[in-house]
């Protein structure tokens, strides 16, 4: 009887909904529904229309993000479970731009092969929506819902080329390992909830600083939750899906997964670790140390042996995740408090997004002519596509961290965080990271050598025709990469902004 009368008893007060704070998500939901309905009505006849609608929708969702940023106030809703602050806005902006660039990459790619379906844009928008929600989630349940919303469309997008065996492999591996990792993460969350009795991260944070926080069960919960997200950011030893999925998925989706999906995982980790698990740095700090060291080293060493450019970029993005994990590994030892580790991570993520999206856009452009993903097919690219060669050199050297291109600044701030911590462990990690940067230079430079110095493998020197969308995406990424490298204050400003206001 009680069960039935439960929800009826008492007075219900409708929660105050701050529509301005929800506006980016609401716009995206409206566009998502419109894209689905338009495609259903036109039954595939309105390809350009659906794609254009989705692109405009992503840009339209950017407007409320900007007005919220101008407004500047921190908005907390649903009992602190959903927060819109500078941190959330910086990442919402990143996700929208990454989504838009993916859209630019996709339009011609989809038009060229016969795998077009209107659901493509619908799923892409859903995944972006999940990331937007993730950036604001400060609650175990909303983090989980956001994770599912960003992952499930991504599983389907990875297997888009459904008659292609590699595509099937890509989606199956991604899906099975992803679901497994989610299960592990959910188990960890249930342990944390069982001990603290809270789902809101700030409450968990204060409970985990009091007595009872040192229970082994808490440590187990934290480890499980971090393992779940280590999969999402493809940290070693949870990276095994990444190369196969990246190779088999359509290249625009690969770019999307390696940038936006990875950033989504990092956002969740930052929220969980720096708000919820802040008091237990004795658990997560050593764990991140091992993860970072392994991720950098294994990623770089395997990347050395790759002959396929997408697989090489996959392992390179695994290694890049390792650099981004470095601030986590020393966060507890920073004089300015663990929050000081957030700026460098955000900075690195933003720069990485520009470089990596650019590199994948270029792979797409070159593959239009060569129809091949082998690094050897880049031989003599300079002879027939000098512009693309220069751009690719910019992206690979930026990824390697050569000044004055974007990547160096990301590496600088990350290394500076290690030096600020100034513990023996931090120094050791710094040395490992430095050695890795040198290893990485070798395989990045070998792509450049192929393009500039080798002859054209098949002697075919017809110029590469690059469609407008791809050109726009390439120029956007290239300009961002160069400007950040020359004038890093732009991105440093975002890095400073993206710190939780509630940190001590």
């Amino acid at each position: 009887m009680d069960v039935l009368s439960g929800p009826v008893a008492g007075v219900f007060r409708a929660p105050d909904v701050d529509y301005h704070a929800f506006a980016p998500e609401l716009v995206l939901v409206a566009v998502l529904v419109a894209v689905l309905v338009v495609d259903l009505v036109l039954e595939g006849r309105g390809r350009r229309l659906v794609g254009g609608l989705a692109g405009i929708g992503l840009l339209a969702a950017m407007v409320p993000v900007l007005t919220l940023a101008v407004d500047g106030a921190n908005r907390s809703m649903v009992g602190g479970a959903y927060v819109v602050d500078d941190f959330a806005l910086v990442f919402k902006g990143l996700f929208l731009i990454a989504g838009y660039v993916t859209m630019l990459l996709s339009s011609d790619y989809l038009a060229d092969d016969d795998y077009y379906e209107g659901e493509y844009y619908f799923l892409l928008l859903s995944s972006v929506l999940g990331m937007m929600v993730m950036a604001s989630s400060r609650d175990l349940i909303s983090i989980f819902v956001a994770l599912e919303l960003l992952s499930i469309p991504a599983y389907m997008l990875a297997g888009w080329r459904k008659r292609d065996l590699k595509g099937n492999e890509a989606t199956l591996k991604y899906y099975l390992l992803g679901v497994f990792a989610t299960g592990v993460m959910l188990y960890g969350m249930s342990l944390i909830f069982g001990i603290t009795g809270e789902t809101v991260l700030t409450e968990i944070g204060s409970k985990l600083q009091g007595p009872g926080a040192s229970l082994p069960l808490v440590s187990l919960g934290i480890v499980f939750v971090i393992v779940g997200f280590a999969f999402k950011i493809s940290a070693v030893p949870f990276h095994s899906w990444a190369p196969d999925t990246y190779e088999g998925a359509p290249t625009p989706i690969t770019a999307f997964l390696s940038v936006a999906s990875k950033a989504g995982g990092f956002v969740a980790l930052m929220q969980l670790v720096f708000i919820g698990f802040l008091g237990r740095d004795d658990v997560w700090q050593p764990m991140f140390w091992v993860l970072a060291a392994l991720t950098m080293t294994v990623g770089n060493l395997i990347a050395l042996r790759q002959t396929n450019i997408v697989r090489m970029l996959a392992y390179s993005s695994v290694a890049q995740a390792g650099y981004m994990l470095l601030p986590f590994a020393v966060a507890g030892d920073l004089a300015k408090g663990p929050g000081a580790a957030m700026g460098p991570m955000t900075t690195y993520l933003l720069i990485y997004a520009a470089m990596n999206l650019g590199a994948f856009a270029l792979v797409l452009a070159v593959a239009r002519k060569t129809r091949s993903g082998e690094i050897a097919s880049y031989g003599g690219l300079f002879e027939y596509a000098p512009g693309l060669t220069v751009l690719m050199s910019i992206f690979v050297f930026a990824l390697a961290g050569i000044p004055p291109l974007g990547g160096w600044y990301g590496k600088l701030v990350v290394f500076k965080t290690l030096l600020d911590a100034n513990t023996p462990w931090a120094i050791v990690l710094g040395v490992i990271a430095a050695v890795n940067s040198v290893i990485a230079l070798y395989y990045y430079a070998s792509v450049a050598r192929e393009m500039w110095m080798r002859p054209v493998p098949d002697g075919d020197t017809t110029p590469v025709r690059v469609p407008a969308g791809l050109t726009a995406a390439l120029s956007l990424c290239a300009v961002a990469t160069v400007v950040i490298g020359v004038y890093p204050q732009v991105v440093a400003r975002f890095g400073d902004l993206a710190v939780f206001s509630l940190l001590p």
Binding site: L4, P7, V8, F12, A14, V33, L36, L40, E43
Partner: protein
Amino acid sequence: MSELLRAYLTVVVFLAAAGMLVGVSLGMGRLLRPKRPSAQKAMTYESGVDPVGSIFGQSQVRYYIFALLFVMFDVEAVFIFPWALGLEVYGVFGLVEMTIFIVILALGLLYAWRKGVLRWV
């Protein structure tokens, strides 16, 4: 008898009543029905599908889509029941929220319909 055990008495009574109901109805049937066994009747019942072939059989992929549609509306019911019980308490706010929820789910049905999933070929 302790309070806890007394609470379980209901369960025991319920179990006994259930057992009796099954026993009486089956027993009555046994006494009243005519008995004409045939090979057809002795066959394993498999939802109207003839159980032929080896134990490893591939089922129609169509069932999978029906299962998906079922899950969709099943989940809908889980949310609608508690709302319906507290309809007056939740007021206009609840109505608007539930309308949005149902419209979005109905889009799923619209999608399935346009893609021809509802037609059994």
